[in-house]
Symmetry: C2
C-alpha cells in the first residue's frame, strides 16, 4: 500500500486540485505525497453521507459496532512499521513513543468495544406501569440513551494516533453510534491517511453503512469552521489550542441549532510540593518533575507547567536538583515549526513578565525546544496572573509561597485545569486535606505522589476539567465515560413490546444493567 493523498468521503476516494504537503520538522523538508484539501463540495458530500448513515449505523446491534471497533484496531496493527515511520517523520516523535501510542490507540478501541458489550452506556431505566395507582395510574416508562448524530472530530497535533483519526474521540463517537467526519491535522496527513485506510478496511470487513467515516484534509481553519457550522453535524470533539477551541465554541453557539463542543484546550496542571515531601525527597522529586516536564518535549496537555511550594530549605534543594537535571536535558525537535515559534514566544513572555529564570536545558538548533524553569513569588503572580497562561512545551513556573494560605489562594485564582497534583508525605495529610476542596474546584483529576503526564485509559479516568481546561467540565475525553458526550436520553412511554427498541424489550432487558423502578439490577453475564 502507498499513500495516495486522497480524501475519504465514506467509501469514495477523491482528489482535489488544492494540495498541500507535510513537513518533516526535524529537517524542515517537505515529505512526499501531495494531499488533497477538501472544499465545499467534499464537505457537503461527507456530511450528507454521515447524515444518511446515522440511522442505519445507530440501529445496528451494539455488538456489531463493537466488532467494527475491534476490526479497526486489528487493521491499524496490520499497517505495521509503515505507520510508525511515517508518523515519526511527520511529528519527530520517537518511534518508541509512537509504538506506545499505537498500543494505547488500539487499546482504546478495544476498551470501547468491551464497553459496548457491557451496556452501561445505554443508561437503561424502566418504571413499570402502575395501573391501579390513585389518583392517576402510571404508564409504563422506559429510558435509553441514543447517539446524538454525526460528530466532527478534529485530529490533534500532539497525539498523531491516540487523539487523531482513530483516536479517543473517534472511538467514543463510533461506539456511541455516531458517524464521524474527521478533520485531519495538517501536520500529519500521511499518518491520518494510513489510519483512515485501516478504518475503511474495517468498515468494509464488518459491513458498516457507507458514510460512517470520512476523512477531510484542509491546511487552514476554513474547513473546520465550515464543518462545525454544518447542520448535519450534531457534536464536536477537539483537542488543541485555546484560540482554536474558543473559535469552534463560538461557531457552534451561533448555529441556528447550537450543538455541544467538547474542546480540550488549555491547562498548566499545577503541582503542589508539600513540606514533609520536600524535606524527605526533594532531589528525587526534582528529577521526576524534570522527567515529566520534558517528556515528549513537553507537548502533553497534562504537562506540569506550574509548581507551587512553600519557601524553605527543601524547596531550595528541589531547585538545585531540578536545575542540575534540566541542564542534562538535550533539546528536542517539536511537532511543528509553528508550535516551536509559540513556545519561544511563551518563554519570552515569562521572561519579560518578570519571572526569574532558574535553570535551562541545553540549547538546540532548528525547531528544537530548550527546556526552562522559571520562578516567581505568589505575591508577584497575584499581580501578574498572565504569567500562569499555558506555554505549550517544556517550560514551567515555580511559585514560591510564604504560607499555605498564600499557596491555597494562588490555586484558587487559577483557571480550570485538567489535573492538579500533590506531592505529599504522611505528615502532610492535614495540609492536603485543607487544599483538597480547592483542588476539586479547579481540576478534573487530582493526583497524589505521581505526575500528571501519563493518562490511564480506563473506567475511572477523567481527562477533562473546568473551563478553559475544557469547554465542558461535565465531560472527559479519555476513558469509557467519554462515550457520554455523544449520547442523549429518550423516554418511551406506553410502548407495546413490539415497538420498543430492542434493549428495552421484555426479552432483552435482563441482559443489560438497568434500574427497575429505581432499583439497580445487574446485566446477565453472557
Amino acid at each position: 500500500m502507498a499513500l495516495t493523498g486522497e480524501l475519504f468521503i465514506g467509501r469514495r476516494r477523491l482528489s482535489t486540485a488544492q494540495r498541500f504537503q507535510a513537513v518533516d520538522p526535524t529537517r524542515g523538508e517537505t515529505l512526499e505525497t501531495a494531499f488533497s484539501a477538501a472544499g465545499t463540495a467534499e464537505l457537503e458530500a461527507a456530511c450528507t453521507l454521515a447524515h444518511t448513515a446515522f440511522d442505519p449505523y445507530r440501529n445496528l446491534p451494539p455488538l456489531r459496532r463493537a466488532d467494527f471497533l475491534e476490526a479497526i484496531a486489528r487493521h491499524i496493527l496490520a499497517l505495521g512499521d509503515a505507520l510508525l515511520e511515517r508518523a515519526h517523520r511527520e511529528t519527530a516523535l520517537p518511534l518508541a513513543r509512537l509504538t506506545g501510542e499505537r498500543a494505547r490507540t488500539v487499546g482504546q478501541l478495544q476498551l470501547f468495544a468491551a464497553e459496548l458489550r457491557a451496556g452501561e452506556w445505554l443508561g437503561l431505566r424502566v418504571d413499570p406501569a402502575l395501573p391501579q395507582r390513585t389518583p392517576a395510574p402510571r404508564p409504563d416508562l422506559r429510558l435509553r440513551k441514543i447517539p446524538c448524530g454525526p460528530v466532527a472530530v478534529f485530529g490533534a497535533s500532539n497525539f498523531p494516533l491516540a487523539f487523531s483519526v482513530a483516536g479517543g474521540d473517534s472511538a467514543a463517537a463510533l461506539a456511541a453510534g455516531c458517524p464521524i467526519v474527521v478533520k485531519g491535522h495538517p501536520a500529519h496527513p500521511g499518518t491520518s491517511e494510513w489510519v483512515a485506510q485501516a478504518i475503511a478496511a474495517a468498515a468494509a470487513e464488518t459491513d458498516m453503512p457507507d458514510g460512517v467515516f470520512s476523512l477531510l484534509h484542509g491546511p487552514d481553519t476554513a474547513l473546520g469552521a465550515a464543518l462545525v457550522a454544518d447542520a448535519r453535524i450534531r457534536a464536536v470533539a477537539f483537542t488543541g489550542s485555546r484560540a482554536g477551541g474558543l473559535a469552534l465554541m463560538k461557531i457552534a453557539a451561533a448555529r441556528p441549532e447550537p450543538i455541544p463542543v467538547y474542546a480540550e484546550m488549555s491547562s498548566i496542571n499545577p503541582v503542589v510540593l508539600l513540606p514533609a515531601a520536600l524535606a524527605a525527597r526533594s532531589e528525587s522529586l526534582a528529577r521526576e518533575f524534570v522527567a515529566s516536564l520534558t517528556l515528549g518535549v513537553g507537548q502533553f496537555c497534562t504537562n506540569p507547567g506550574l509548581v507551587l511550594a512553600l519557601e524553605g530549605d527543601g524547596l531550595q534543594r528541589f531547585i538545585e536538583a531540578a536545575g542540575a537535571a534540566l541542564a542534562a536535558v538535550s533539546p528536542a525537535v517539536m511537532l511543528t515549526e509553528g508550535i516551536q515559534r509559540n513556545y519561544i514566544r511563551g518563554v519570552e513572555r515569562l521572561w519579560t513578565g518578570g519571572a526569574e529564570l532558574l535553570a535551562q536545558g541545553s540549547a538546540g538548533t532548528n525547531n528544537c525546544a530548550r527546556a526552562a524553569l522559571f520562578s516567581v513569588t505568589a505575591a508577584s503572580l497575584a499581580e501578574r496572573p498572565e504569567l500562569a497562561e499555558e506555554t505549550f512545551g517544556p517550560a514551567s513556573l515555580l511559585v514560591r509561597c510564604r504560607t499555605l494560605r498564600e499557596l491555597s489562594e494562588t490555586l484558587e485564582r487559577l483557571e480550570g485545569q485538567l489535573t492538579a497534583t500533590v506531592q505529599m508525605d504522611p505528615a502532610d495529610l492535614p495540609l492536603a486535606q485543607e487544599l483538597l476542596p480547592t483542588l476539586e474546584h479547579k481540576a478534573g483529576r487530582i493526583i497524589v505522589n505521581s505526575w500528571p503526564t501519563g493518562v490511564e485509559v480506563c473506567h475511572a479516568m477523567v481527562h477533562g476539567g473546568p473551563f478553559p481546561a475544557t469547554s465542558d467540565g461535565r465531560s472527559t475525553s479519555v476513558g469509557t465515560l467519554a462515550i457520554e458526550r455523544f449520547l442523549r436520553p429518550v423516554c418511551y412511554q406506553g410502548f407495546a413490546d413490539g415497538l420498543l427498541p430492542q434493549e428495552l424489550r421484555a426479552g432483552e432487558l435482563q441482559r443489560w444493567p438497568h434500574r427497575f423502578d429505581g432499583e439497580r439490577r445487574l446485566g446477565r453475564t453472557e
Copy 2:
C-alpha cells in the same frame, strides 16, 4: 404567619425601596403585600453567601442533604391552605390543580431524597492499582461526581409550585450539593415567599449552612441577567419562553467562564394520529385531545400544539368530534395578562398565516383564552414553517397529510420537541415503526396512546429534548436523571485512604452502587 415582601438572602431577610405587587389575573386587581425588588447589593450578597456555603454544603454527608429535602417537603405541607389560596389568587389556577401540584412538588423533593440515599448519582468508579502491570504499573484511580457550584434557578410562571422556588430544578440542584439562588417569578411573589419560608425553616431545622438558599425578586429582566453573569454562579436552570431562554444562553456563553444553561423553552409536542386508530376511535381520540389541549388553559410545556394525520374519513370524524368538544370548552383565565396577550397574537398569526379555523371554544372576557383548532395541509406548512411556532395556550394546528411520507417529512422538518405522541392501533405497527427513528431525532419523550400533558416524576422520565425544546438535549428537568445537570466527574489518582472522599474509601465504597474495574456492583442495602 403573614407575607412580608422581604427578600431571603441566606438567613437574612431584607427590604428594599423598590417594590412591586402581584396582580390577580381574574380580577385584574393588585394583591396585598408589596414585594422588595433586589438590586446589585442584594444580588451580590446572595451570590457571596452561596459561594461561601458551597464547600460546607457539598461536603455534608449525602444523607444530611436528603433530610433537608424531606424537611422542605414537610414545611411546604405545613403551610396548609394559605399557600394554595395565595397561589390561586396569583395564577388563577384552580385549587384542585394546585393541590395536585403541591403533591407533585412534595413528591419531587422526597424522590430526590431517596435518590441521594440510593447513591446512583455519585457515579462511583474504581480501577484498582495494578502494580505488577508491564510496561507500566497502573495507579489506583477512583471517580466520583461532585456538584458544579451555586445554581441560579428561575421560577416558572406556569408551575408556581412544581417549577418554582422549591420545584424540580431546586430539588435537583440542592440534592446535587449546589446552593441555589432563586429568581422568583414576578407573577406569583407571594407563593414564592411562602415556599421560601418553608425552605428557610427546613434549613434551620436541619442545620444547613447559611447561604444554601436565597430568594430574590425582580419585576423585570435585569436581575436575572445579572444573576447569570455573576462569576459565582456555575449553572442555570430555567423554564420559560424561547426569547428568555435564548437571552440567558447568550449571557452564559459570553462570560469569561461560560457555564451550562438548562433552559426548557419551546415545544409544540406533535401528535400523530395513525389510520387504524383514527378508523377505530376517532371520536374518543378527539375528546381526549381536546381535554389535553385545554388542560390548565393550555399552559403546559407539553401542550399538544400540532396534530398530524392522513386525510380520510377517520380524520373527518375526528375533526367533527373535536369541534363539538371544543365548542363545549368554557373560556378560562390565563396566568397573566401578558401571556394572554401573546396567546391572542399567536392565534392571529395562525389566522393571518393562512391556517383554516376548524373550531373554537366559547368566547370569554378579561384575560380569558378562547381555545382554537386550526388546520393546514402539509404542503402549505412546508411553505410556511412559521405556522409551527409555539402558541402558548389552548391552540393547536392540525396538519393534513396525503401520504405517510409527507407526514414523516413534516415531522423531520420540525424543530426539537419535548414530546412526540403516536395514537395507534395494532394494525398501525408498521407505520409506527417507520416513524420511530424520526420521532427519536426530534423528541426527548415518545408517547404511545396517551397524551403529552401529564409528566410522571420518576426515574425513566425525560422532560427534555433537542434544541429549542431545551438548550441542552442531553438533559432532563424532570425525574431523578435531572440531578446529572449539576454534577461533574472528578478522578482521584493514587490517594491514600485517609485523603479520599468518604464515599470512595475502602470502608464505605461497598455501600454504594459502583463499577469496580468496569464491573457493575450493587450497593449494600441498609
